[in-house]
């Protein structure tokens, strides 16, 4: 019998796409559905998903937890847990529509939460770490429950199915965000599980990824030293944790994190200016086990922006396009052209070259 994510490691080939309006103007999720649907053949119907940023302006100070439940027992147990740790501002089932190709749907719920102040204080953790640990506990300890989105003013929507169907399933045309990413999955040895679809998120970080990294177990075994639990055993999961670790915990910049994950070759570093050389050598020496090898193209979503990054050999296709304030990232150019035929600029970033698009009014530091 085929095992599902978490029992075994699932490599997958895929399609990714992303868009951001740097002016902060919000777009409906429909553009992403249109974009990803052009790359239909890069998916096999075993997973699709979206992440939207800026979609919950009314609850922007609350962590939006999206959960899958296999059954109501799991839901009860989880909600008990959530109540013990959070103030729940609002909770409801996530609205979906019937789509013929989307089957066996779990119970899908959304909670806007804020840590209980006394609990948070006694934990001696910062707020984000507190939330992250709670997410891990639900995912590891409660059978049949799975938190698949946990950031503020952002949300991940994913399912087993072709991505365009998933988008319609979640009625994404009704959501508006300043940035979107999406993913169509082509796993090679799983029946596909809802939780295993992309994007993978932790707090406000979300990752869509096309590739199959060869460094997986080196990365996983390292990152797990810092409290992360790779329950899905997917590349996307470990990549998300790596960025969370480097950006949130170690306070690296996006560019620095990119130089850890897709480090320049030693020989390339040799050719750089002394200052760059020192910094890059230092990063490689500090975080050698977070170097990711093997093919990948990822879009990292974060509060206020998107980052596109390829593996250092650029073993996966990925292009970036710009039109006015809008910036696009996709596995294939067609996925951009279909939603913006007239681009100011389109190019293919080099392997290891991080492309960061942030909101003009200040997103995160690069």
């Amino acid at each position: 019998m085929l095992k599902r994510e978490g029992d075994i490691r699932i490599p997958a080939g895929c399609a990714i796409s992303g868009v951001i309006d740097r002016s902060g103007k919000r777009m409906s999720g429909k553009c992403m559905i249109d974009s990803i649907s052009t790359m239909h053949d890069r998916s096999n119907g075993l997973g699709g998903g979206f992440a939207g940023y800026g979609i919950y302006p009314d609850f922007k100070d609350f962590y939006a937890l999206h959960l899958f439940y296999d059954n109501t027992a799991a839901q009860h147990e989880t909600e008990e847990f959530l109540k013990r740790h959070f103030e729940i501002a609002y909770c409801s089932a996530i609205q979906t529509r019937k789509v013929a190709s989307i089957k066996d749907e779990p119970i899908i719920f959304r909670y806007f939460v804020s840590p209980l102040p006394r609990k948070l204080e006694s934990s001696q953790l910062d707020e984000e770490e507190y939330v992250a640990r709670c997410v891990f506990r639900v995912n590891v300890e409660i059978t049949g429950a799975y938190v698949f989105s946990s950031g503020k003013n952002m949300g991940i929507f994913k399912a087993v199915g072709f991505p365009e169907d998933v988008g319609r399933f979640y009625k994404l045309e009704e959501y508006e965000g300043y940035a979107w990413t999406c993913h169509g999955r082509y796993p090679t040895n799983t029946p596909g599980w809802w939780g295993g679809a992309h994007p993978f998120g932790l707090l406000d970080y979300s990752v869509v990824h096309n590739g199959e990294i060869s460094s997986y177990d080196a990365n996983r075994r390292y990152i797990e030293m810092f409290g992360y639990k790779c329950t899905l055993k997917t590349d996307t999961e470990v990549i998300t944790y790596i960025f969370d670790y480097l950006l949130r915990k170690r306070k690296l910049t996006l560019q620095e994190a990119a130089k850890v994950v897709a480090a320049s070759f030693w020989a390339t570093i040799e050719t750089k200016s002394e200052e760059e050389r020192e910094q890059e050598v230092l990063l490689r020496r500090m975080f050698p086990s977070l170097l990711i090898t093997g093919p990948f193209s990822i879009i990292l979503g974060f509060e206020g922006g998107l980052m596109a990054l390829n593996d250092r050999l650029k073993l996966r296709s990925m292009v970036c396009g710009e039109k006015g304030d809008k910036a696009y990232i996709a596995s294939e150019e067609c996925a951009i052209r279909v939603i913006e035929p007239e681009l100011d600029k389109i190019y293919s970033p080099a392997g290891g070259e991080a492309v960061v698009y942030t909101l003009k009014n200040g997103g995160r530091r690069e």
């Binding site: 990294i213 060869s214 080196a218 030693w266 390339t268 200052e275 086990s289 170097l291 090898t293 093919p295």
Partner: protein
Amino acid sequence: MDMFIYPEYEVVRNPDLCIGCRVCERQCANEVHHYDFDLKKMVADSTKCVNCHRCVCLCPTHALKIVKSQDTYKTNANWENQTINEVYRQAATGGVLLSSMGNPKPFPIYWDKILLNASQVTNPPIDPLREPMETTVYLGRQKCEVVRDGSGKLKNTLAPQLKLNMPIMFSAMSYGSISYNAHEALARAATELGTYYNTGEGGLHKDFYQYGPNTIVQVASGRFGVFKDYLDTGAAIEIKMGQGAKPGIGGHLPGKKISADVSATRMIPQGVDAISPAPHHDIYSIEDLRQLIYSLKESTAYKKPVIVKVAAVHNVAAIASGIARSGADIIAIDGFRGGTGAAPTRIRDNVGIPIELALASVDSRLREEGIRDNVSIVVGGSIRSSADVVKAIALGADACYIATAAVLAMGCHLCRTCNVGKCNWGIATQVPELVKRLNPDVAAERLVNLVTAWNHEIQEIMGGMGINSIEALRGNRLMLRGVGLNETELKILGIRHAGESL
């Protein structure tokens, strides 16, 4: 009268091929061969033969071979010939049996029960001839604070590290146990390769201070040749707590090997036995070790990483955990098959555990405790090939120590009689005429060749896995699968059985 013991190996000469050049005679320090002027031919006395193959290799007509003798006692699976002979020897001498080099007994070799992965379809293999394939390794503590200067630039808060061009270093072999020329060859090869060799516990000959940037200086229980200049000269300092070939046992270099030069280098009298105590008498506990580590760091201004070398013993994971918390930058673990210039046979053959299991348990333990990046792990004790190196790194090692392979490259034929001091290959000897047989030009070149070849193979294997930097291989146990291993073994190694999917 001593019991006559039929030689274990016999010299066989093909009379049709022997031209009587007498090269074998001139090259055998054990005086096995001589030309008989009455018989007008070469003759050999196999009782003196140690099976070092010097004569076999140098015979220009390949007229010689050495074969296992067929003489046998009545077959007995329990009392094998060697077992019986050892009883005879001890009955005759009353002495502890001595041997050299690594444990030759047929214990399982886990390296050979582990298979490597390669990319197919979903993930491309990488061709090292076309793409960079990085094998550079930095050894030392990686854990550090992220600190920025005023301009936001990252400051280097790392502890001192060692940079290796490939994850292979030459393991400790002391000057005294091996010859001046062997030491020179190791030093020069390490320098050319961009890696390190290790002085062992015999101090560092003045002539070799020039290779200091590629030298690891060892501080062992005998403290031979340890003084300020020595510590300052090395790139790193290794505290030797134990050795895989003889855990729990000290060292004993007989006085006849303490030549004038060895004496000066070790700072001990000439001709007097050099005794390394079994323990460091200032280290009876982990906190004592911490003191020594910091003493050494203090005396070298915190500029050099400190390595603590231990033998792989049953409790190695806990020991390593203690070391990782004691200020050491690198832990070297020496498996039970590691070589030696001399060890009591019973110790060599019965004490310690395989390096594969020790490494896996140490790596897992340090990760469980979240302190794996406190230290680098270097493993030795019979790393026989580039495949062993790759498997060791995938199990969790940062780099490997090689010594037996290195002396093999220099000419050693594993006759395992280093303790006698008459090494016909000029390696494990201090006899000037024998030392001369090892031209460091040749030996260094062969060492460089060996390691370069291994490194090429490592790159090929990594490329096959789709990994283009050695960092991404370290601890990447998914790249390993066991064959013919039981559940316990798989669990300790932290790998799945072959056939189990990703």
